[in-house]
Symmetry: C2
Subunit: 203 residues, 2 copies
DNA sequence: GTCTATAATCTGATAGAC
DNA sequence: GTCTATCAGATTATAGAC
């Protein structure tokens, strides 16, 4: 006789549908971008009906907002780790720039969803708040090169923008930048960060 | 008696539907992004049926590819104008960086479609070719700072990436960068370009 | 070249059964 | 909490009339 199989009731989920949906959605965003993401396809991949997600998320955008929040938190964790244990603030910011590129390359879906989801800011405050925490982490480092908070902001913005642009170019294979060129692109980001810092120090 | 009105036959177009469609599509891309663009809505805005575009474009992506090509050509024109008449190559590249930000701010739809349309490269070669011409325009300028072509490419890539990141942040109002901050952002891009050049000159 | 009409899909979201 | 069933709407693309 076959042993009694504890079979999950057909048509029911294993109990963590919320997280399963988030995982499936992230995978989907990675393949098609935030705008190509559909709740129906995410449901299919999670193995549930298209109605099931509505017990866990108000609607499609609410799920995307949750992913965006996760994206910013992952950024903060990665960038915190990137600067931790480094003494020289210039080295810290160079490490941050490299980590920015690495984040985009290793978590393309989270990267996309944080800056390309087109969420209504008045409706979803949580992603923006999580994004602010990323800035809050790094501004004190930039502050060591700047005479006032505005200058620190300018510095951090330019370093992050340079890393962002390189990350986008890398992701799109633009200008001959292949996907195998991750470490090259990290190095370019770090080097550009130092160039920006040197200019400020010397002016 | 009412004067004879030269009435266009109902259901027919004025004869330049192709361009009308491109214009309407560009407007639409500006509002919703390349992924939010639909041929049906573009047809509606051009005042024709949803079947009409298929006499002018093979499909939706073919129209987007045409817009992307236009975008790169507009870039080339703008950047050519930005460096023209300037002698110092450092000034030229700083002017290019500012023009890059201006292009993104003034032609957001063209900007989006060039790097965010997600077109199949193996199917559409024309946009990529038009993009290469942008690089061809600027590489000789960068070459004046670099000892070899690879170094020139690295330089141009980093300057363009910094401008790109700043343009994206500006468009999204990220990090408190408001839409009114165009000239500020242009200046940041130009300043970052000079920082990158100085580093190379001094190393 | 443009239309009407249609096919075939896909989507977001809801109601009610279990 | 999940399902089935369903609605209303949208899209791409084609066929055939004019």
């Amino acid at each position: 006789m076959a042993p009694p199989v504890t079979r999950r009731p057909v048509g029911h989920h294993h109990g963590d549908l919320r997280n399963s949906l988030l995982r499936a959605s992230l995978e989907l965003v990675g393949e098609r971008g935030p705008h190509g993401f559909t709740l129906a396809e995410a449901s299919r991949r999670a193995g549930v009906s298209v109605a099931a997600p509505y017990k866990h998320f108000a609607d499609r955008d609410a799920l995307l907002a949750e992913l965006a929040t996760q994206g910013y938190r992952e950024q903060r964790n990665r960038f915190a780790a990137a600067v931790k244990g480094i003494e020289d603030p210039a080295d810290q910011l160079a490490s941050f720039a490299a980590a920015y590129v690495r984040f985009a390359a290793e978590e393309p879906a989270l990267f996309d969803v944080t800056f390309n989801a087109g969420l209504d800011r008045s409706r979803f405050a949580e992603p923006a708040a999580a994004g602010d925490e990323v800035a809050r982490l790094l501004l004190p480092v930039a502050r060591q090169f700047a005479s006032d908070p505005d200058a620190a902001f300018d510095l951090l913005l330019r370093i992050a923008a340079a890393a962002h642009g390189l990350a986008v170019f890398l992701r799109q294979g633009l200008f001959g930048v292949g996907i195998a060129a991750l470490s090259d692109t990290e190095e370019k980001a770090a080097r550009t960060a130092r160039a920006i810092l040197r200019q400020d120090a010397g002016s």
